[in-house]
Symmetry: D2
Subunit: 363 residues, 4 copies
């Protein structure tokens, strides 16, 4: 269903932007996992709006675990987590009920449902991603019980300006040291200036997130519709404002010949087999090959801007709309932990699927 992601490790989320809160229930979580709640807190804090560059909405994101955990360990029963909306201001949004904001889902939700929640976009709001980030933080902990998986995302481009970052070496610390989550300091400084400029102009900007997952063993993922590539794209393009996805070299790969693109396989120092290069981004046939997973997600600029825009009211009459709410001029820095969460959710689903039908012993 539309509010569920994953097959074996399955999250279902609920909650509107300006309702009482956002929830997530995880079904299929293995028992016995010692939860580190501080890591959930930390990821939620990374997602939270804040700083001069971001939305002034204050989300404290204190969460409550409603089930599935006893004395800090998962029970195997569904783990539900509830994040109250402490700073919801539904009244701010009353004027929005009578018009369709450009670029937003107002018009399409109404076309789909005949009814919509005008309070801040309802389900279409990025507020929902808090639930994914919380679930993703749990997924990461589970991944680490199996393999030393290290997931690091960063802002790779903003408004067409590209940062120079080495996926092999980039660290989470370097990412978080930057106010815009760009570990290339020079680019980060440019990005900050660009965001401030957009904010001052009453406009917004988009960009690209890159993600690397190091330490994922070969043989994760499933063929066809279960490909890691397909699942990552599904998860990432289910995020608000996400418009593009590239695995490995992506579109650049489409411009190369087979002889230029193929990653040769070689023996490594430990007798294992690894690709000599990583143009494919860590997958072959949709299954991991032991090289770091690497992909990029493109996000358009936020639709809500202060600049006046032409649109229509519910009756089709022409109206002008200026966003006056507490809106980010750029979601990219906050998208970093969200994209990491989606990667963790996909990988843990692959892990559980693999446990369900493990490789044959060679005979």
């Amino acid at each position: 269903m539309s509010n569920t992601f994953g097959e074996f490790f399955r999250i279902t989320t609920w909650g509107e932007s300006h309702g009482p809160g956002i929830g997530v229930v995880i079904d299929g979580i293995p028992p016995g996992l010692a939860l580190d709640l501080a890591r959930i807190d930390a990821e939620l804090a990374r997602r939270r709006p804040g700083g001069a560059l971001a939305s002034p909405r204050r989300e404290s994101d204190a969460f409550e675990i409603q089930s599935g955990v006893l004395d800090g360990r998962t029970l195997g029963t569904p783990l539900a987590l509830w994040i109250p909306n402490r700073d919801a201001r539904p009244a701010d949004y009353a004027p929005l009920a009578s018009l369709y904001r450009p670029g937003h889902a107002d018009f399409t939700y109404e076309a789909r449902y005949g009814i919509r929640d005008p309070r801040g976009g309802g389900r279409a709001s990025a507020r929902e991603t808090a639930a994914r980030v919380a679930a993703g933080a749990i997924a990461r902990q589970l991944l680490e019980t199996e393999a030393p998986v290290e997931i690091v995302a960063w802002v790779a481009a903003l408004a067409g300006d590209e940062a120079a970052v080495n996926p092999q070496a980039v660290t989470r610390a370097a990412v978080d040291a930057s106010a815009v989550r760009c570990p290339d300091q020079a680019a980060g400084a440019r990005f900050e200036a660009r965001i401030a400029e957009a904010r001052d102009a009453g406009d917004s900007i988009g960009g690209t997130i890159a993600l690397v997952a190091r330490g994922v063993p070969a043989g994760w993922g499933d063929p066809l519709f279960g490909k890691v590539t397909a699942r990552l794209a599904h998860g990432c393009l289910s995020l608000p404002a996400a418009v593009a996805f590239e695995m490995g070299d992506g579109f650049a790969a489409t411009r190369r010949t087979g002889s230029e693109q193929n990653d040769a396989l070689i023996s490594d120092a430990h007798g294992g087999i690894v690709p000599a290069t990583n143009r494919a981004g860590g997958v072959q046939g949709g299954i991991t090959n032991g090289a770091p997973l690497f992909f990029r997600v493109g996000f358009k600029a936020p639709s809500t801007i202060r600049k006046p825009q032409a649109t229509v009211g519910r009756g089709g009459e022409r109206v002008e709309f200026s966003g006056s709410g507490r809106h980010d001029p750029c979601v990219l820095p906050r998208a970093v932990p969200i994209v990491e969460a989606m990667a963790a959710l996909v990988l843990v689903d692959c892990l559980v699927s693999r446990r369900a039908a493990p490789p044959a012993r060679k005979g």
Copy 2:
């Protein structure tokens, strides 16, 4: 599961490249649809390798309907369709059992399963897409009972060379008039030459497919994980060699400001509401807005090339591999009907989902 796609209109495929055949069963197909078998044939013919530019493997793709149809109409029971592999030559592939081809899923399938079918890639072969094309042809017929949906894909770029095509106007006839399925004749001529050059060099090339779906009403798709965008990306990136996906303007959109990117809504001549521009590719918040759906999928060059490549044998020993089989230097022309099939499958799933939970009457 990994071999199933769709939720309400659900296909499950099976069959290895060089086994007895390829099958697909559709569950959730509404009863009473008058099937036009010639259209299934036609789509399979479009997918089939052929011509000087393509793989010399001859696939006749005669199919058998095994269930779910009586006197030409669907019964509502599962429709299964079987396409025998008439030109399978498993023996050709025996040498492949002892090595891992670069860029292929040989190594990763073995890492996933501990065992693999070395005959032409088994499930990882593009042969499986015949099943999707057949199911997609049925999906298109069902779509047309609801709305005048017209799905047209074409080769938009090859090896970095871009064609100039107008998505509003492009026709299937224009696409199929081109040997390389590029309706820009000048670009098509360049593409033909480029494919011939790659073939002669024992190499291969990749490129980009663009697709437009005109006539899709507003309000199809579901929020979040049920977004049209996410489902299309999932479907398309589950295809062999697919590495990138863009909805609407995709990465180009990430370089624009919100005021440049947002599609203003206007009233049309019939009192409806439509976007004045279509940078978003026909969706807002993952739900269709009545404008044509538009997306692009990037495919890397085929991994199998005649040029010798370095790789390893199953024991890790260094070996050289030259593809000698019946392989395409470029899959893009054949990918056109395959991507169309995935779009049709996603759209029909949206249609059925919408029927299951239809819009509220405005009250």
Copy 3:
């Protein structure tokens, strides 16, 4: 997954008996349904322990709707409902952590998960059924928008003593007028006495619930694994203490010949076709035939009794166990609204499935 029921109208529940509460999220709920919250309250009140005959645990069952509803109407987005556990007393259960109660899931949960929540059975407690009852109350409201479906269950037998009730005529009012929810007054009086006797003896008793659903149109349900019969049995036997299920005449039917058992079809006064008798309980081939649905569910006596019972501790040592908690000597009266909820959930899933793939127009 194990905590999800239904396919098109899908509930997922969470929460342990003595954790903070019990929750349920409904995905696939159509938009625009005007919710009558008082009916949810009323069903929860019917399920609640109370009266001299029942468990002294006080469950107030005030619920909160967390999402999916605006101004009293469903939005089409997931409807989540949270019922705090106001009278949880986890400390009461501390001694249970070291032994396995006979007849309970203590031993088997530990065998399944390696870990368990000893506080009142955790997920295995009947407390979880509050979530189902709340969801079932919503399902009933949705059913009634389509057809005048009337679902009435009652206590049909207790400890082997059978009531005489006419399924065609029985009313909810007559059921609720009885403290033991048996509309046969004489039997009800015997049942009350029998429950009191069991309670005084420190023992417990089981029995049978019968349910009729009148007004269900012909043609609901799906073949094979989607049979109404199979789904009802699945739902009812997922309830705590449920051990048996009969559709229509059930085991009695197995003792008759075909000529005795078959329901003849006849034309009714309105030109419709109906079965002349209803031995099958309203289904043929698992699909409704327009006659009232009728089935029975058998519940064993509650496992917790005051009488001392032999069992083992976690180390396998022999111990004696006497239930001292707040336990019902008989769950049957409270099972009435729970079984009704399961029937409503199955029927609404059939309704939505039918909308997704509606009958062909006869051509």
Copy 4:
């Protein structure tokens, strides 16, 4: 969906009774299983009509494996199996298109779909169970790689006459030594006579199948909707003519007190914990407790009989119907391998689910 059973080890079946054949595809089958095809043959042979007591329709049931197996071992890819209908005679059924047979799904399929396949019941025919039996034979082989699971079913009652069989000791050999698959020889002789009598009278009879599964370890199954009990009931009541299900002592348990019904837990000779009795049929809280699984399924008499019956034509006109086809007067002997197959499919799904989320190590 309606044609899919199981969650982790998932079968989807297709095919009408008198179409070209019956198929099944298994998704989620672990790689590396060495298939014993003779066992699939053997189970299909057990299901096949034959002997003086059964339908004269000859089903040879030669099957073809279409995918998922290489050199006798499963690949982890979907295993599809196709059983052609060699003795289909669609023309025999032409007269059935204009009327609704009593007790059959003719009327309800038409109410559900607006269209139906009149050839022998189409999907509603017991012919479909051949696919389940084949898949069940594979499931059994997989089960045995994990634990010495031994599944034995038999005809426990016929037309109200009950056999005396000890579930602890009954063997498959003893069952198959009986023409009516009743290991109680005296009862078997009575059953044979009773079937012959029904056949001669142009009538049919029903009865009960009992099943024991010995060797299932404790801790299989999942809570709530994943209960072994609920899944077994779902699977068994999705079979044609199945009308009732009892786990363990079933309805008899509802007549006992808690102190009479609870199975005490004791330490066994090997330091394990086992129930001292097995009234519950091997489950507590829906999860296996290490005692043999035991359940019963009631089947009504076949609806098709030679005796004339009153019914209606498609226009509602009164007609008389006499079955003249090749029909069994009693399906019970053939139901034995079918019920065994459903048990195997449920158990293997539990096994795979357990592998996906294995028990926590006690810490």
